[in-house]
């Protein structure tokens, strides 16, 4: 499955627009985790656990999107957008990660 943020695929012929595919993942409000990352911020360390959580959530969002594209018999996703939205929480740590794009079917030129 090819993923691209561009409008087209180089050296490939778009055969069909299959539809919209989306994937979402949420890192939820968890006061214990939030406080811990807050402490790390104060002492100046990198909140590596938080980075891992974000990466994990992004992978879930992308995987969910890819599964939906496969369901539509597509073999690529173009116009891909990934956004990280802060949705509050105890220390602003509730983050929604969304990935969406247009599923297409392409053929080699």
């Amino acid at each position: 499955m090819i993923l691209t943020s561009a409008n087209t695929l180089e050296n490939k012929q778009i055969k069909e627009y299959k539809g919209l595919v989306t994937g979402e993942a949420l890192i939820g409000a968890n006061i214990y985790k939030d406080l811990f990352s807050g402490v790390r911020d104060v002492v100046g360390g990198r909140t590596s656990n938080y980075e891992k959580e974000i990466k994990k959530a992004r992978d879930i969002a992308l995987q969910s999107m890819k599964e939906k594209a496969e369901q539509l018999d597509a073999n690529a996703i173009i116009g891909l957008k990934i956004s990280y939205d802060n949705l509050g929480g105890t220390m602003g740590n509730t983050i929604l990660i969304t990935a969406y794009g247009t599923a297409i079917l392409y053929e080699e030129k």
């Binding site: 409008n7 627009y17 919209l20 989306t22 993942a25 939820g28 409000a29 006061i31 509050g88 969406y100």
Partner: protein
């Protein structure tokens, strides 16, 4: 400057009154301990020492400042007598619930309004607000009563994962093309105009939850549902305007409302009329 000097002098006098009151209280307590003036093993110094401290302090303060300063030394004596009488001099009591309960009751006697307000209003309200404990408790009691009365129990909230597959089918079977690219290739289209739709729903703003996972799942479900609603609404509005697709589609999620009390989802893009046969080449 004159006022400041007066204030400083008064503060110094007040401090002296407290020190003298505390000293009188400590002497009294020492005397009660030395002569072991007790009833059923309970030393009366626990009552009289703070009383003497407060009385001496008030008398001195009234003489040198002209007003009472609130018997602070009585409170100091309460703490001293409690710590000494309950913990140091009586180690058999140990650090147990009864000792700490007694300490709380004595402090409560010294400053009742503050302790009552803090204990009953602030702590319990915070606990209830943060955890939703009382809501859960009253729901359980309500269900038990309903069961006893032979009525049907209220359903317990079970959060099922959102059906992504079904959602995907629904969105892509609207006879409508959602395209995220801003300049899609191969298709031919006419522009109609910029359209946007929005959905708002409430967020659980409690800091602590009995089950944070459930709140997380519920929020994610609501966000997905809101997104589907927005997309369906967008397709309907564009169809009404004579279109059959949208390009440069954007989906945004915003925290909104007082103190971030709601989520807002916005779907927007350029409405177009696409020559359907051009969607496939």
């Amino acid at each position: 400057m004159k006022i400041d000097k007066e204030r400083m002098a008064n503060s110094q006098k007040a401090f002296n009154s407290i020190v003298l009151g505390t000293a009188a209280g400590l002497l009294t307590y020492y005397a009660f301990l030395y002569y072991n003036i007790a009833i059923f093993g309970w030393n009366l110094g626990l009552i009289f020492a703070p009383l003497v401290a407060g009385y001496v302090e008030t008398i001195i303060a009234q003489k040198i400042i002209g007003e009472s300063i609130g018997a602070i030394s009585a409170f100091i004596l309460f703490l001293v007598t409690v710590v000494y009488g309950f913990i140091i001099a009586n180690p058999t009591l140990g650090y147990n619930v009864i000792t700490f309960g007694s300490i709380i009751i004595i402090i409560q006697a010294a400053i009742p309004t503050f302790i009552n307000y803090f204990g009953l209003v602030v702590i319990i309200s915070m606990f209830s607000y943060l955890t939703g404990f009382f809501k859960k408790l009253t729901d359980t009691i309500d269900n038990k009563i309903r069961k006893l009365l032979g009525k049907e129990e209220r359903p317990v909230e079970i959060i099922l994962p959102y059906d992504d597959e079904e959602s995907n089918k629904k969105i892509n079977s609207l006879d409508f093309a959602f395209i995220t690219s801003n300049n899609p290739k191969i298709i031919e289209y006419d522009n109609i105009g910029y359209f946007y739709t929005t959905a708002i729903f409430e967020r659980n703003t409690h800091l602590l939850h009995i089950s944070p996972e459930n709140v997380e799942k519920k929020h994610l479900n609501e966000l997905k549902k809101g997104k589907d609603e927005c997309l369906i609404k967008l397709s309907e509005e564009i169809k009404n305007a004579g279109g059959n697709g949208v390009i440069d589609l954007e989906i945004n999620y915003i925290l909104n409302g007082l103190g971030g009390s709601s989520f807002q989802i916005i779907a927007s893009g350029m409405a177009v009329y696409i020559k359907v046969e051009s969607l496939t080449s």
